[in-house]
Symmetry: C2
Amino acid sequence: MSVFDRGERKVMTSVAVASDAVARQRIVETALELFAAKGIDSVSVRELTGHAKVNVGAVNYYFGSKAKLAELVFEQLAIRISKRRIDDLERVLRDAAERSARPDLASVVRAFIRPYVDPAMKTEGALLAQLILQHRLRPTSTTMRLIKKHFDPLAQRFVGALAQCCPEIPRPEFYWRYTFMVSTVVLTVSDLSPRHRLVRLSAGTADPSDAAATEEALVRYLVGALSAPV
Amino acid sequence: MSVFDRGERKVMTSVAVASDAVARQRIVETALELFAAKGIDSVSVRELTGHAKVNVGAVNYYFGSKAKLAELVFEQLAIRISKRRIDDLERVLRDAAERSARPDLASVVRAFIRPYVDPAMKTEGALLAQLILQHRLRPTSTTMRLIKKHFDPLAQRFVGALAQCCPEIPRPEFYWRYTFMVSTVVLTVSDLSPRHRLVRLSAGTADPSDAAATEEALVRYLVGALSAPV
DNA sequence: CTCAATGTCAAACATATGTTTGAAACATGT
DNA sequence: ACATGTTTCAAACATATGTTTGACATTGAG
């Protein structure tokens, strides 16, 4: 059973009204890091509370359940990332409009993959990837709600932008390609192998620990994929 | 903890020497189906033995542990799939050689994705995807061994074939693109959402339950991705 | 200060899961 | 028919995990 499957059982014992309890914040921060690094289901509340230096019961005390904590973490994340991505995309589209040119496909792609590859957003990107993966592999009403609410509109905008970049390609094609792109990126960034297969296969020629190189290779791949003729 | 993390604890109570026990076979078959459909960790041995109409202890009796069963199932699968894929690829390369032309990129791609999209290999493809996913998300020495042994040589052959298709692209680039392609395909075919996001986003225009349409869209995407200029 | 609200803690609880056990049933060769 | 090796079965076991509990500590307003 995955985290999001478990519903609450009963209401919290008591309610923390308005205290900015240190424990609460530490739990959220630790959850962010651990969930991003190992996936939600692989982090037990004992491990979580241990790292956060907080009692085992704290998660249930403050959040009601592990599932509620995860939901909260993911919702906050979705809001932050979604906003930033839309800003990035809007900027690309605005620039193109000012030059009265079609937007640049590579720029749109970069706006899309930024959260996943920007070192400054490493944890957030990994966490987002976990959310998507979680939903792809074990969809629940909760993950469904989060995706629908925060990422469906985003997806529509990106599909629209892609269609602007390549007007010769019929729009429905971009629904396919968009979901393929999500698959490509999400699984790429959530590869947790300590020694990545790439270095083994390529005998060191390709190095996935080089973030810039990974980004460039991804952009080349995705631009080619998205602009392929039908 | 994932299946493959668990080692054996002690030797089996007794050994089934040479009987083709019905139970044993039924367990393997059921494991194949359930693992492919839900992922390994999501299938409890009680669920498994329940479906196989076999006692709970049977898995441990015949295979020693759930992990050993999974390993066996996956190794058998890896052998079957790997052989078929190499045959497919060799045929494509041979045909090209006979025409003394470069091999067709789309044909190579089709040889690669066949196990994942061919309806006749539906279960096997899903199972293979589960193995790759398992390794990407929670690599263990067992998954590592299986991948290395059965799929690294295959990967090298495909990279070689891709380089033949596009001689103007430097070979190291194909190591990147090959792993990206694996990501794309694996996550695409392991999407278990009953109502796929695609139909929601595209308002029904794109239908992932249409296997042929999915394959064509995938081929277009991958051919574009793999042949993109550097 | 008082005391009620809030937070902390260790221990216990409930459940799910992989595994083991020991007896009974079955099969098979002599 | 017996003995022996094999299979089946229900029950118990061990462990991991999320959760709850009740006692105790801390805090802050009146």
